[in-house]
């Protein structure tokens, strides 16, 4: 078992190496200035199996201890693989080792029913997921909701072959050649199609979050980038996560890549930005040093190709508390530095706590750093499952959080162009995925125009569209897109044919709980009653067009008309819900 695991990982690393064919390398191609070990030509560092990982000087290039020590409790040679003190692999930290307080099932179960639903919805939507109300309620009622979601993220359930075939099927999703950044559409389609909130989903989610930030944005808005950079950056992260690559190693590989150089395109630019982005070092006096280390790296104007020549720097340079010479040293030592952990943690805390005070954010950052994270999940899951995030944080939902969670909750069916429309919608909302050079500095812009597009998309493309069941197999049909009739099937709520009012109330509450995780207020119920119920024959009865109990001699006609009338109610209630801020917000539960 041990050997087969190791074999799989070796194969995986070879696969990753293929991703790195455009990596700069730039380390000492051959013999370094100090006569040290060499790197592989394509930029993939050698795996110095079982070598010194104690932070001692390696061949004249001092290493800091910031790179952490890879797990030593196993004899697995991969777990001990490193390159000049940069460890490659880390298992995700057990949540018991997190320092940021995590929401436990005991605490979750102690919340009232409304809070539980809200917190569950917040957790799931943060992960771009959701469940139909009945299924979610069962999970909540199980008593181990939090742990079940957490452990589910460790399991691999996804049939990846089916998944990839499905999202690349041109009969189901429009496949563009070059226009409209098809790689981004494929990534967005994958989230829509993934059925399980499992380990594969998590790795995609981690990669997605990272590529939205300033750290890993492929930046397709730039003329020097090309659309394949989108998939290269994203897929590389997913692939490296698949083999338990640590966050330092993933970042090191990314920084060395042509993808990164197409974003930051000169030695000074790239050096400056890597220090700013990953270590928060804004000191302009460090930039010439970085520029000197990277002096033989350049983005050749011929097809924006990264070119690393052999005239590398040979003078010792002091950066990151150590001595560096060349580009490989620069990127490696940056990734190993303590400042790296601080920098990337701060970036992610800012991303998830945009409305939190600077003081509080610094506390959260410091607490996470104290847990010594070495994998991206160590930071991201520590945030997402924390008490602070789930109970005390309020922020705008990203459109992905809103769309994907709603889609799962309302059994939303897509047509061929649904996801490409979503991608265009994200651009209009100024939430474009992987587009911006500096990532989403503001994850959810709420200026009037951006929000108007956000609201318009969710209202018109999601909430007010019903999927025509007759078009189930017609992905070209405009009316295939929308929520399915299963979403409002009668077994989801309790109708009482003796009370139209009670039946309306229960249906309205179902729609509210399904979509915004709360019941309707008495004022809201009254609003809908006033419009849909009338006094007739001394009773409070449905108006004609909303009558879910209408009777006809023809049973088929009766059933059809009842469903139509129920949909008439649903459209109005969902329209109202589209006007609520909570549809677009992750709310504070306490």
């Amino acid at each position: 078992m041990h050997k087969s695991h190791a074999l799989i990982r070796w194969i995986s690393i070879l696969f990753i190496s293929l991703f790195l064919t455009n990596c700069g390398g730039g380390g000492s191609p051959g013999t370094g200035p100090d006569g040290t070990a060499t790197t592989l030509g394509g930029g993939t560092p050698p795996t110095t199996m079982g070598s010194d990982s104690s932070g001692t000087t390696t061949g004249g290039t001092a290493t800091t201890t910031g790179g952490g020590t890879p797990p030593t409790t196993t004899n697995d040679e991969f777990s001990q693989s490193e390159y000049r003190g940069l460890a490659f692999y880390y298992k995700n930290m057990p949540s018991s080792e997190y320092k940021l307080n995590q929401l436990t099932d005991a605490e979750f179960n102690g919340l009232n029913a409304s809070q539980k639903l809200q917190v569950a919805d917040k957790l799931l939507s943060t992960l771009f997921f959701g469940y139909p109300l009945k299924e979610l309620q069962e999970k909540i009622d199980s008593g181990n909701f939090i742990e079940s979601i957490r452990t589910g993220l460790d399991e691999d359930k996804t049939d990846k072959e089916w998944l990839e075939n499905y999202i690349l099927d041109e009969d189901k999703f429009t496949q563009y050649d070059r226009w409209n950044e098809p790689q981004a559409i494929t990534i967005l389609s994958r989230f829509f199609a993934m059925k399980d909130l499992d380990s594969y989903f998590l790795k995609n989610w981690v990669a997605y979050i990272l590529t939205q930030t300033i750290m890993f944005s492929p930046a397709y808005e730039l003329e020097s980038t090309h659309t394949p950079n989108i998939s290269r950056v994203y897929n590389r992260i997913v692939t490296m996560l698949n083999v338990d690559s640590g966050m330092r190693y993933i970042t090191y590989v990314h920084m060395m890549s042509e993808d990164n150089w197409r974003r930051f395109r000169s030695p000074e630019d790239n050096g400056r930005e890597m220090m700013e982005i990953f270590t928060l070092d804004m000191d302009d006096s460090h930039v010439p040093l970085a520029g000197q280390a990277l002096k033989n790296w350049k983005l050749n104007t011929d097809s924006d190709t990264l070119e690393v020549s052999l005239n590398q720097n040979t003078k010792p340079l002091q950066l990151f508390g150590t001595t560096i010479y060349n580009g490989d040293d620069f990127y490696r030592e940056l990734a190993k530095s303590d400042a790296f952990t601080k920098g990337v943690t701060k970036r992610l805390v800012d991303f998830f706590f945009p409305e939190t005070s600077d003081t509080k954010k610094q506390q959260i950052t410091d607490t996470i750093i104290a847990s010594k994270p070495e994998a991206w999940q160590d930071i991201l899951l520590q945030i997402v499952f924390s008490e602070e995030y789930l109970l005390h944080t309020h922020r705008a939902k990203s459109a992905e959080e809103t769309f994907y969670s709603l889609a799962k909750k309302i059994d939303y069916k897509h047509r061929k162009s649904t996801i490409s429309y979503f991608k265009e919608g994200l651009e209009e909302m100024h939430q474009a995925t992987m587009k911006y050079k500096l990532g989403k500095l503001k994850r959810v812009p709420l200026d009037t125009l951006s929000f108007a597009y956000y609201n318009k998309f969710m209202r018109e493309q999601v909430l007010l569209r019903r999927s025509n069941p007759e078009k189930t197999n017609d992905f070209d049909a405009w009316d295939r897109q929308g929520w399915s009739d299963d979403f409002i099937a009668n077994d989801n709520f309790t109708l009482d044919s003796n009370s139209d009012t009670a039946s309306l109330d229960t249906f309205v509450n179902y729609l509210f709980k399904s979509t915004v995780a709360r019941e309707a207020t008495s004022e809201e119920l009254k609003l809908f009653r006033d419009h849909m119920i009338e006094s007739r024959d001394g009773k409070q009865l449905f108006r004609y067009e909303f009558n879910m109990f209408v009777t006809y001699d023809d049973a088929e006609k009766q059933a059809k008309r009842r469903e139509e009338n129920k949909r008439n109610i649903a459209f109005i209630v969902l329209d109202y819900i589209s006007r609520l801020d909570m549809t677009y917000a992750q709310r504070e539960a306490k």
């Binding site: 930051f264 009037t448 004022e523 609003l527 067009e545 109005i572 801020d581």
Partner: protein, 451 residues
């Protein structure tokens, strides 16, 4: 800037704590603002060049020395670097610049330079953008236009009935960043785009939304002026807003209907025939054309902020030939914009300010681009009722510290220069604030514009 101010600013970068009387209180204190009502009917278009544009288009007076010291050859790379009579780069918008200068429509300030950033070693996009858009070096200060909005409101220049006093065509930016004093919703910017698309419009004319009585009115649900929105729509809006928490989403919902009507009202505006000065066909032209249409149509709007989307960004670390093309297009559009202002009779009132977070160094690097610098040009157009245009102001020298890729332009000794925060002070000044320096870390308005 006076020498004393410069010394204080330089010190402030590293030792603000030693100068408690100098440091800026982040909370806007309206009582300290000296405000004078004026009748200049000023309106402003701010064009922010995100990425930090090179100053060379408007200043190649030092080009010979630059060529000698540059890592890569300017002559081999660029397809012409021809100086105009005022030392602008002819191929990079210089011809249009000269026309604007000749007509007394524009001033190029060549020495917008930050001594404070030089001392602090700061050439980061994020920080410099924030500082220039807040008009302050303080981290917790508000944006220029958030401050301006509150000051104008306190002095009864704008109020809840003012129609869209601030408009953004670039999404959210630090210009509108709220400080410790909350900005009322009606003073916050509204967003539009150059096509006057109207995502604010909401179709609510499904027959089931109407009551029986409403349905008895002829053409009730027609999607034109014959029809009308059902009462239910208004009731849903009102109740939803009662439940929505205070914040940007609630503000956005609250202004949606008014914005929809506003956009519909300006969408039909027509640009006068500009003859030979017709707008060039590019995305940026459409933006500035839309901005001018809006200002002409709605005198209530004080400031429109736009980026240079449609042209591209200005972070020209490589392939600087693109910069040349971009500047040519930018100034082609600005020349048309000036003609548009004149045709609309608004050149006295409406001004255009063009700047970014910083300029660039002048070493043409190995990727044939320029890295971050610290001196930029400020281009000021129009506003001729209150600005005295002087053509070109400021002289530069080449600074070569001798290390890799460190080749800069700096203000020549004795020449007129100012910190970027003076742009904010100038904006404040034209809207009636007599002591803008209390908002801008002691930096005064650009005096050369007013004498």
């Amino acid at each position: 800037m006076k020498r004393r101010d410069f010394i204080k600013l330089s010190l402030a970068a590293g030792s603000a704590i030693l100068l408690p009387d100098f440091t800026y209180a982040a909370t806007l204190d309206i009582s300290k603002i000296n405000f004078s009502q004026n009748d200049n009917n000023a309106q402003t278009i701010i064009i922010f060049m995100y990425g930090g544009a090179s100053q060379l288009a408007g200043n190649i007076t030092n080009i010979d020395e630059i060529k000698n010291k540059s890592q890569s050859s300017y002559d081999d790379y660029f397809r012409g670097i021809t100086p105009t009579k005022n030392g602008c780069w002819q191929e990079a918008g210089g011809t249009a610049m000269e026309a604007l200068i000749d007509n007394g429509d524009m001033t190029i300030f060549r020495c917008c330079y930050s001594a404070v950033r030089e001392a602090a070693g700061n050439k980061a996009h994020g920080e410099c953008t924030a500082q220039n858009q807040k008009g302050s070096f303080d981290e917790d200060s508000a944006g220029i236009l958030a401050n301006l909005a509150q000051i104008l409101e306190a002095n009864k220049v704008v109020d809840a009935n003012t129609l869209m006093p601030f408009v953004t065509m670039e999404g959210e930016s630090k210009f509108y960043l709220e400080g410790n004093k909350p900005v009322p919703g009606y003073l916050k910017p509204i967003g539009i785009n150059e096509s006057f698309e109207n995502p604010y419009k909401r179709d609510v004319r499904r027959w089931t939304y109407y009551t029986q009585a409403e349905r008895e009115i002829e053409n009730y649900s027609e999607n034109n002026s014959s029809g009308f929105d059902p009462a239910l729509d208004g009731k849903m809006n009102t109740l939803a807003q009662q439940n929505n928490l205070p914040g940007k989403i609630k503000d956005a919902f609250g202004r949606r209907g008014q914005l929809s009507d506003f956009i519909d009202s300006i969408a039909d505006s027509v640009t006068p025939d500009l003859g030979a000065d017709a707008y060039p066909d590019n995305g940026f032209s459409k933006k500035i054309e839309a901005a001018i249409k809006l200002l002409v149509k709605n005198p209530d709007t004080k400031v429109v902020t736009i980026g240079t989307g449609g042209l591209g960004g200005w972070d020209d670390h490589n392939e600087a030939r693109d910069y040349v093309t971009r500047m040519e297009r930018l100034f082609g559009s600005l020349k048309s914009a000036m003609a548009h202002l004149k045709a609309a009779g608004k050149e006295q009132n409406i001004n255009i300010m063009v700047f970014g977070e910083f300029g660039r160094n002048v070493n043409l690097n190995s990727a044939k681009g320029w890295d971050h610098g610290n001196l930029q040009n400020l281009y000021v157009l129009g506003g001729k009722g209150y600005f005295n245009h002087k053509g070109v102001v400021g002289e530069t020298i080449v600074d070569d510290p001798g290390s890799i890729n460190r080749l800069w332009l700096k203000p020549k000794s004795g020449t007129y220069w100012f910190e970027p925060l003076s742009i904010a002070a100038t904006l404040y000044k034209i809207y009636g604030i007599d002591n803008p320096e209390i908002l801008t870390n002691g930096n005064k308005e650009i005096s050369q514009l007013f004498i």
